[in-house]
Subunit: 279 residues, 2 copies
């Protein structure tokens, strides 16, 4: 082999350039990336004009990024890439609660609240009592599980999206289980909302005939000593976007029933979380 | 199939979302892109941390882009992707002059010069007489072929990179063949130079144990009515970077011999260009 570039040998030519002292993992990742990128261009006989459109798209996506907006994560999300990476890194045995994407709206350091307390601070929305247990794979309750919850408000915005309109910790809180593994808190029944679609990724979704909506969901991050962290949502059963979540976050096992409650609470949602031991 | 995302069905789930009214070509390109991106993540079991590094890399690459700097094109170049797209779109029969990448330094509207004239305006560098013919595949001379040439100066910079230090059309010019198909002009023997490596792409090259240099070359864009346009370089035989061009632009058939000339000219470079008829 001459070492010069040809259409046929393109992948090998590029990958042969990687130096001898490069970390084996970086080599593995980059070789695979080059192999798949080149195979893509060959599969579709990518034209020069299409390449120019792609360069322009990436450039506009970069220009959209700021402290408040991560358009490349959005791109990864709508291509199902974020969910795929989440799935690869969180394979769990049957019976364990499945993971889904963290999303961009989690804020660390939310207030610790007492069991049964409310997370709603803006008085908006249909009220909902959330209840359930945190269990291990054998059905034993887990003591000291830390349950960090967050969701959008009744207008479809997270508090971080509206720092001037919502209290900082609106619809956010942390609850810790006792020996019985039980949790309960009051919140709202969340509502569906569009991901930010005024940038290049939104234009791409429109060109692909896709909508930007996510089905209504409550976020949970559950940690407990000796157990794998669960990052997940529960989705409101019956939401019209369940089967077409713009970021592919829905898993069948995460769809939760919201039942009318009565009294001073509109809804009731029961959901148990099952954690996997580490090691 | 539920339509919900699973690791196994990830590609199908994402591609099934494309709307019915989407152009067949956009569908083909995006389906292939999703297939290859997902296969990449699965092949290497991409970790969450590696995904974060990738998002950060793309974001920094976007931030580096400006009117004067296109870091995404640079990224495409060093991954061999630009050369691959060029190869796919310029397949030619044996005997025809091969294409290579246009590069970012071409400027339209260069002065038309008389055969034999010089393109050097800064008085720097080792002088060289360029000569040869523009032919069709049967060896017949092509009349009216427009030969647009450009190269870096003796310091390794194109005139557009040094608008305050070099005359605008330094080392640039356009020559048009007569019935004999002959061309000749005076320039310099070009020198090797690094692609801009002070950004994320330069850091990536360093992490991969690669250098940023391109071997010395003269650019040619040759157009003639009834013939496919040739965009190519001739490379200086013996250049130490021939086998390791940072952007993979070298093809064996494009390496040109530079011979000592004598008289008031240091070097002589003979090279014939062979064009393919259109249609």
């Amino acid at each position: 082999m001459s070492g010069y570039f040809t259409e046929k040998s393109s992948t090998d030519t590029v990958n042969a350039r990687i130096g001898d002292d490069v970390s084996p993992r970086l080599r593995e990742v980059m070789e695979s990336l080059v192999r798949h990128l080149h195979a893509f261009a060959k599969d579709v006989n990518l034209t020069q004009e299409e390449w120019e459109v792609a360069i322009d798209f990436l450039t506009r996506t970069g220009r959209m990024c700021s402290e408040e907006r991560q358009e490349f994560i959005l791109l990864s999300d709508v291509l199902g890439f974020s969910m795929l990476v989440d799935a690869i890194n969180n394979r769990r045995p049957a019976g364990a609660t499945e993971n889904t994407v963290l999303g961009p709206f989690h804020v660390g350091g939310a207030p610790e609240r007492a069991m049964g307390d409310t997370i709603v601070q803006d008085g908006k929305g249909e009220s909902c009592l959330y209840e359930g247990r945190v269990l291990d794979l054998d059905g034993n309750p887990i003591e000291g599980a830390r349950i960090d919850v967050w969701c959008d408000n009744a207008d479809g915005f997270y508090s971080v999206q509206q720092p001037d309109l919502q209290p900082k910790w609106n619809n956010r809180g942390v609850f810790t289980t006792a020996a019985d593994g039980l949790y309960s808190f009051r919140g709202i029944k969340p509502v569906s909302y569009p991901i930010p679609d005024d940038g290049p990724v939104g234009k791409m979704l429109a060109a692909l005939g896709r909508h930007p909506f996510r089905p209504a969901h409550m976020h949970f991050m559950i940690t407990a000593p000796g157990f794998e962290t669960i990052v997940t949502h529960t989705f409101v059963d019956g939401d019209p976007y369940l089967a077409s979540d713009a970021v592919f976050g829905v898993k069948e096992s995460l769809i939760a029933e919201f039942k009318p409650h009565g009294g001073d609470t509109d809804w009731h949602c029961a959901f148990d979380f099952v954690m996997v031991q580490t090691g």
